[in-house]
Symmetry: C2
Subunit: 199 residues, 2 copies
């Protein structure tokens, strides 16, 4: 979840967003996915999503209902997981760190951290937990060999969430903000790789 990037007012001036392009459901989903990725949940507004999608706020309400419902519709970790897990086990640790850094740069926000924010809201928590378990933890557990694969997958997921959390919390002037992705991987990947290898 982005913490400092992007406009604070939910305006459409979001990198990669072209106001007015597309219309209807697909445009809303694209705009909402960007908004929820770029900004903390509390700062995303239906009005901002509507402006970015080139539709009226009332159309979003009509098609999706509440902001929570829209969030649940667009929340999906599958694409991030495709990239995060695209390496053989023997070098997955380093790949995970470098890919996290790359995804955060590309999207201007964290690819996974929004699931932590969802803990505060009952409906989202339930749905996002289920998706995160299936698309991240469960998929990872299935790719690991050795004992306690499920537990190790949960701890790997925790280290990924923690990496995003600390990078966001210590922005913009923390040591981790100034470190290169390679240096982050030098320090952070060994713990991940150990969990991949078997703990």
């Amino acid at each position: 979840m982005s913490t400092t990037e992007g406009p604070a007012d939910g305006s459409p001036a979001v990198p990669g967003t072209e106001p007015g392009t597309g219309n209807g459901r697909d445009a809303i989903v694209r705009a909402a996915r960007r908004a929820f990725t770029l900004k903390p949940y509390a700062e995303v507004t239906m009005r901002g999503i509507a402006a970015a999608a080139g539709v009226s706020p009332s159309l979003i309400v009509k098609r999706f209902g509440s902001k929570e419902a829209l969030f649940n519709t667009v929340a999906d970790f599958g694409a991030a997981a495709d990239e995060l897990f695209a390496a053989p086990p023997e070098r997955l640790g380093r790949h995970l760190v470098l890919t996290m850094a790359e995804l955060r740069d590309r999207h201007g926000g964290d690819p996974l951290l929004r699931v932590v924010f969802s803990l505060g809201i009952e409906d989202e928590r339930t749905l996002l937990r289920a998706r995160f378990r299936e698309q991240v933890t469960g998929r990872l557990a299935g790719a690991l060999s050795g004992p306690d694969a499920g537990l190790r997958a949960e701890l790997i997921a925790g280290q990924l969430l923690g990496l995003g959390a600390t990078l966001s919390l210590h922005r913009p002037d923390g040591a981790s903000s100034r470190a290169s992705a390679e240096r982050l991987a030098d320090l952070y990947a060994p713990g991940l790789q150990r969990l991949v290898d078997g703990g």
Copy 2:
């Protein structure tokens, strides 16, 4: 931050809370600290805190103002840091994991994770970030020797936040929920210890 424990309605039926004991500012702070520790931010209510403190909601508003202001008043990581960092460097990794598990059990919620939730709210983010940096990351950096102490401290803080996040996300039936604290430490402490030792 607790995700499944405690009442969902902000009622005073929180373990360790005795409704009506004490009064005035101290009672409000005690009740608010428990509430914000036991439950996600969005589920904490001024009414629930007031009931737990044995005061009227209007008194809390009069003394503290908004819910955000009250949260900022009671948010403090110093006590948790005292316990988390109470071990010599050579065995700090394992101590951190066992203490995290112990603090989560004792308080019915995570001792650090609320700082991640605060990312969604501008005022809290600013104040909580400052406190977290000072009381957790900064203190830890000062206790580490070797190169990149600040960066390593941020990454250690990340692994601690990630541990809490994954334990909360995979409750109540995940593998990490069923694992003993000792088993969690067996798997999770080596990565932390490596960062403590120098990466």
